[in-house]
Structure formats: C-alpha cells, structure tokens
Amino acid sequence: METKLEHRCECGEETEEEKLARIAQIAEDFKGQEGSLIQVLHLAQAIYGYLPLHVQQLIAERLEIPLSEVYGVTTFYSFFSTKPRGEYTIRVCLGTACYVRGGAEIVKKLSQQLGIEVGGTTPDRKFSLEVMRCIGACGLAPAVMVNDTVMRQVNPDKLNRIMEMCS
C-alpha cells in the first residue's frame, strides 16, 4: 500500500466562472451526439467536484435537452453527486462477496468514526462516505476505494491506517 494517497481535487485552482465556462464548452462540443450526456456529466463533475442543480441546468441548456432528463441521469448513477463531496471519497463495496466478508460492518464503523451517514460529507469537507454494489474486486473482499485507489481485505482495524494516509 502507498503511504500517501494522491488527490486530484482542482477546486482551488480555477474560479467559479472558469469552471462553468469549461463545462459549457464541453457540453457545446458534445451537443447533438446521442448518448453523450453521461460523458458530459462525468467531465463536469471532475471539473466542479459535484453536480449542483445550476450546473445541470447549464448542461441541459447547452445540450438542448430537458433539465428533468439530466437530473434523472444524475440521480440514477451513484457515481454522480448533487452535493459537494470531500477531498477523499471513501466508497465501501457492498457487493455480495464484500457484504458477506464484513462490508456492512465497515460502513457502520466508518459512519461512526466520521460522524456522517452514507452519502454524507464531513463538515470540513475532508471525507465523503458512499457505498457501491460490486466493483469487480471480489477476490479482495471486503474492498474499499479511497478516491481511485482500491484497498484490499479491509477490516475495522485497517481503517485507522487508511485515515492516516489521507491526512
């Protein structure tokens, strides 16, 4: 395991206007291409960190599709978030293998330790807690992802180490 986790947050490096302009441009580039909404949302979330309603509205406008459709897709995929997320998003796998090997216990422990519910973010915007349904790493069960890094065979004791790596 690496000792320090990389984080890719770019929130501080661009102004609000610059971010929105980039998102608008991306949507503009994809306009008229069928099935491009998910990709645009993906890129927009990478730029903005999350997808609040006004960002979705901007995307809807530029792609010339209804806001209700954009919102429908955003709320369908658990990858997209309409609320701001922490610097580190901890995703606990609750697929069958991870679940039977204690995934639920890890969620409970993390929730207690961070003081947030699943889907929530700590007030200092350091951590967000989410669950996933199978990330295809059943051999590593129970698996936890911190941003883009997969942690194998996690047990409650290992959680402290993971937290430390994020500091």
């Binding site: 999350y50 609040p52 309603l53 006004h54 979705q56 509205q57 406008e61 599709i65 209804p66 806001l67 209700s68 459709e69 954009v70 919102y71 429908g72 709320t75 369908f76 995929y77 658990s78 309409t82 609320k83 701001p84 007030p123």
Partner: protein
C-alpha cells in the same frame, strides 16, 4: 402478411406488428397495462408477458415483433402466475384508498385487478415516499399512486416536447417528476394536461373545482353564470355512454340549468367575438406591414393557454407575434361582469362565472394577474368536461333522458364559425371566412365555406389564399397571397416557432393549439382520447358547423348588437380594456420572472 400461431390458432398479422397488436387484431386480448396504442410502448410493466416457443424467458408482447411461424401462448399457467405476481408487486407499493381517489371506478389499475383477481395482499413491505404536489392550479401530482408506467414521460417529452416529467432516482426510490422534486408551478409545465389524459391511475389529476362551484351555486347571494367551450358538447356524451362524436349540446344546456346555474351562456358567442377582434387585428397588422409602417408577422393565435405558457417559457422573445386577444372564455367572463352585469343590474362582485372547458390549462389561465378586472377574477372557476359529468351525476340527473335546451341570450348565440374553434384548424378557418369577406365583400372561395387544407389531424397544415377583387379601402391587398399555417400539439408549435424566431417563417398567420388535435383532445376531455376518438369528435364539430344557419362570425346578430350597445368598434377602447391582454416573458427556467430555480449552494 406474417402467419403465426397464438394459443393454437393460426392467425395472420401485418409485418412489423407486435405480438400484442397481432393478438388484438385477431380478437385475443392479452392483458396489458403500460402499453398505450399510438403513444407508449416501452415494456415497463411486463404485465403483457407471454410464452414464445424457443424463448427461455417470458416476453413482453408489446415489445416483440411478430415472426413467421412464431408460436405464442398467452394463457398458460406460467403466464398467469407471472402476471399475477407482477400485479401483486405493483399493488404492494400502491395505496389502497381507492374510495377516496378521484379515479375510483375509472382506474386502469383497478380494472386490471378485476381481471387478475387476487384474494389477499401477499406482499406487505416498505412503501415509496409520498410526495404530493399541489402547487399547480391545473394539475395535481401524487407520487404515492404512481406505478411508474412512464406514459406521462413519453407524452410530455416526445409528443408535447416539453420535457417537464422524467424518471428521477433509481430502483425503489424512482419517482416521476420534474428535476429535484421541483413543484410543477415553478418549472416550464404548460398545464396542457396531456399527462393527466394518459395516467392510468390517480397519480396525475386535473385539480378538482367542483366543490367551489357547488358552493357558489348554493350561495343565494351569487349569480352563477356558466359557459361551455365548443369541444365540450361533442365529448360530454361519452361520459354517459354515448359513442364518441355524439353531439349533446341541447342536453348539456338542460343539465346545466338543472344543476342550478342562473345563466347558461356559450363560449361560442365569444369565439365569434374573438374572430371579429382577431380578424381586425390581423388586418391591421397586414395593413401596417404593406403600407410601410411595419408590423410583427406572422401573427399567431392566442386561444390556447397551454400554448401561451409554452411560448412564454420557450420563446420569450417572440411574444409580439401573439394576437393580443384573450381566449374566448376570458372574453365572455369579462363581458359577463361588465356588459351583462350592467344589463341585469347586478354588482359584478356578486357574479360567479364558471367555464366548462376541455382544458386543464384554463385553470391556470384564470389565475393570471393580468386577467383580473378591477380586482375581480374574470372567470371564477374552470371545470373540465369530466368534472361537469361528475356534477351531473352527483346531482342525480339522468342525462340520456334530458330534453334539449338552449343557451340563454344575449351571450349564448353563435355561428358555425365558433363551433369549429374546438378543433385544430378551426380558428384559422373561422378567421379566414370573416377576413376574406371583410376585404372583398364576397364569401371565401371554398365549397360550402369549408377551408379543407387546414382541416384534419396532420401536425402542420398550410394554405395559401389569394385575395382578389378587394374593396376599394383594401386596394393594397389586391393579388396578395396570404400564407397561413396551422399546428396542434406543442412539438408542432416548436417546429413552426424555430422559423419564426429565426425570422424565416414564410407565413402571415399561424394557428396553434396546445393539444394534439386541438381542444377536442384537451387535457380535460373524457378518457380515453385515442386517434379514433379525436376523429369522431372532429367530425361532430364540423357537423355542428354545417348545420348552423349562420356560419360566419361577423353575421352573429348578438355580436353586432354588442358592438352597437357597448363595445363601439373592433379594437376600440373598451375592447382593448376587456378583450385584449399581454403576455409574460418567463424563460425555460422562469429566469425572466426573477424566480430562479432554487440552487443548492455549497456550504
């Protein structure tokens, strides 16, 4: 033709038909639920599953196309078991308060239950969150009753092109509605009610106004005036078992009187009046355009409040194209509380005007602040055709036994031109009959005055009328070819409006009705409104027109008298005050109203 076997019987079907359609064409009814002919076919509910030889799993018959030699079984133990479980699962997340539901006895889910017959509720569990949206004056949305068939999504997005409703969230949390659970009155909903027309249950309903109307009727101080739109009389009969297209004008007038309305007026009277005002407005614009002072063309009709709200949201910069005429029932309301109030010596504050409309958007229209006159609403309540039927039944009136009655004067007489207002193309045809005659002194050169190019159910219809032999005062119109277009349904409106917004529209005059087929298929009409039903109601409307002794609005003697006694002249001062209105630029997100969609701000 394709030959296949259904339930051991060899049947023929057109290539491209689905198994469900092929079965139906051969008198085999496969129970189905979300499927809606000509509208919605997505296989969401799976109730229509059948066994197909060679297929491992049951197949949704509304989705599978017929194949040569296919062997289908629709009525096996396996199919019946699956259908029943599917129904039970849907029912497990549906409230069972049918007796207090507006759709009681008129619910497709109830009907399906009657067919499937369950004896117990086997699946009791968590229920979806209830979200009731009362915000719209027209439409009530109750998510607890929604069974996620998605018919409304198809209609709102694909047929109307508005896109207010979509599936939000996922799995058990799925809900149909606007983005972010925004209330309907805060988004670009046009109140057209086409979603209400296709909802199989009570999840989308027209807001009920029957109680406030009863309250007014039972209030001895109130003079309660009712008026009925042209499309109501050709559809109301369906609520009482008559075949679609039966004209029940006379029985309707009698029923209204028996319910207890003091005056039974006809919106058609105001439709004739609209033609006079709108016809002159059109002539004024054309005159200005041709004599150099300039005018906004094409002029677009303004009778349909769903269409009005649509253009305010989607094309807020093009509102000058709209005729300033109020819709006919608003004109009649305005006259009832001024001209008529004065005639009978009643304080307008004691007059309660009820409009019976085929429309849900009219319920919103009467709440528009610019429609109030001296602080009073012009029309106090709007009832849909369905609500009127409920009131008639509630009053214990045996509709089929009623003698024919007549509308009251002076606001009850109308010409055939007013009758056709109820169908797509009708306003245009009525306007052309009058405008042509005003300009030339002769009747419009169509056999029996039937302007056939603008009739029918096509999405966009067009016609060119060459003006010849003008009166001296309209010399500048000699030889001019007037180009008109007619559309119904908001997708059609979008098609025409793109050109208008780009400045490339070739037309002088456009008629838009918000619902596909026009008011005959409005959101307040009896259900179901299928293509065949639309056609039948349309035929009835034209038959009503053909049977009238007077068929041109300017020949309505009571309209003529109204101008002599009260209004003065078309587009005059009084008309301007009472019969004309203005529009509100809204923008798709209501951004021009200053009511921004609430934005979630990062803490």
């Amino acid at each position: 033709m394709v030959t296949l076997t259904i339930n051991g019987k060899q049947v023929q079907a057109e290539p491209g038909m689905t198994v469900l359609e092929a079965a139906k064409a051969n008198n085999i009814m496969i129970p189905h639920f979300c499927y809606l002919e000509d509208v919605h076919q997505v296989g969401a509910c799976r109730i229509c599953v059948v066994e197909i030889e060679g297929a491992r799993t049951l197949q949704a018959s509304c989705m599978v196309p017929v194949r040569e030699g296919m062997v289908v079984r629709t009525n096996t133990a396996r199919v019946k078991r699956a259908r029943k479980v599917l129904y039970e699962l849907m029912l497990s997340d549906h409230p069972r308060n049918c007796l207090s539901c507006l759709r009681n006895q008129n619910c497709e889910f109830q009907k399906l239950g009657e067919l499937i017959q369950i004896s117990e509720f086997r699946f009791e569990g968590e229920r979806s969150k209830t979200f009731i949206d009362f915000s719209s004056p027209s439409i009530l949305r109750d998510s607890s009753k929604c069974i996620l068939c998605r018919r409304c999504v198809t209609v709102c997005n694909e047929i109307q092109g508005v896109g207010v409703l979509n599936v939000q969230k996922r799995g058990f949390h799925s809900v149909i509605g606007p983005a972010d659970e925004l209330p309907l009155n805060s988004v670009n909903c046009t109140n057209c009610g086409q979603c209400v027309m296709v909802c199989p249950v009570g999840a989308l309903l027209a807001k009920d106004s029957t109680q406030i109307v009863w309250d007014a009727i039972f209030d001895p101080k109130k003079r309660v005036i009712v008026q009925t739109a042209p499309a109501v009389r050709v559809a109301l009969g369906e609520e009482f078992g008559y075949p679609p297209g039966t004209i029940v004008t006379g029985k309707m007038a009698t029923a209204l009187r028996e319910i207890g309305f003091d005056d039974v007026f006809d919106t058609n009277f105001a439709a004739d009046l609209t033609i006079i005002e709108e016809g002159h407005e059109f002539l004024k614009r054309v005159t200005a355009a041709l004599t150099g002072s300039g005018a906004t063309l094409p002029m677009i009709t303004s009778c349909s409040p769903g269409w009005i709200k649509y253009i305010e949201h989607e094309f807020p910069n093009e509102l000058d194209h709209l005729s300033t005429c109020k819709s006919p029932h608003m004109m009649l309301g305005a006259l009832a509380k001024t001209y008529y109030a004065n005639k009978i010596g009643v304080d307008p504050a004691d007059i309660f005007v009820v409009s019976v409309m085929p429309c849900t958007a009219k319920k919103f229209e009467i709440t528009r602040p610019e429609m109030f006159i001296n602080g009073l609403p012009t029309v106090d309540a709007v009832l849909t055709t369905r609500e009127l039927a409920r009131m008639i039944r509630d009053a214990g009136i045996e509709f089929s036994e009623l003698p024919d009655g007549k509308f009251d004067d002076p606001l009850g007489f109308s010409t055939g031109a007013a009758d056709i207002f109820g169908t797509t193309g009708g306003v245009m045809e009525a306007a052309l009959r009058t405008v042509y005659e005003v300009v030339t002194g002769r009747e419009i050169p169509f056999e029996r005055l039937e302007v056939t190019p603008v009739r029918g159910l096509s999405q966009v219809k067009e016609a060119t009328i060459k003006i010849e032999g003008t009166k001296p005062e309209f010399k500048f119109l000699e030889g001019v070819e007037v180009r008109v277009a007619v559309t119904s349904g908001l997708s059609g409106a979008k098609r025409l409006m793109r050109d208008v917004a780009n400045g490339t529209s070739p037309y002088h005059f456009i008629e838009v009705m918000g619902c596909p087929g026009g008011c005959i298929a409005g959101g307040g009409q009896p259900k179901p409104t299928t293509k065949a039903v639309r056609e039948a109601r349309m035929r009835a409307i034209y038959a009503e027109d053909a049977g009238k002794p007077k068929r041109k609005s300017h020949e309505n003697p009571f309209v003529q008298k109204l101008y002599e006694e009260f209004l003065g002249e078309p587009l005059g001062h009084r008309s301007h005050e009472l019969l004309h209105t203005h529009y509100v630029p809204r923008g798709r997100y209501n951004q021009f109203l200053g009511e921004k969609i609430p934005v979630q701000v990062a803490k």
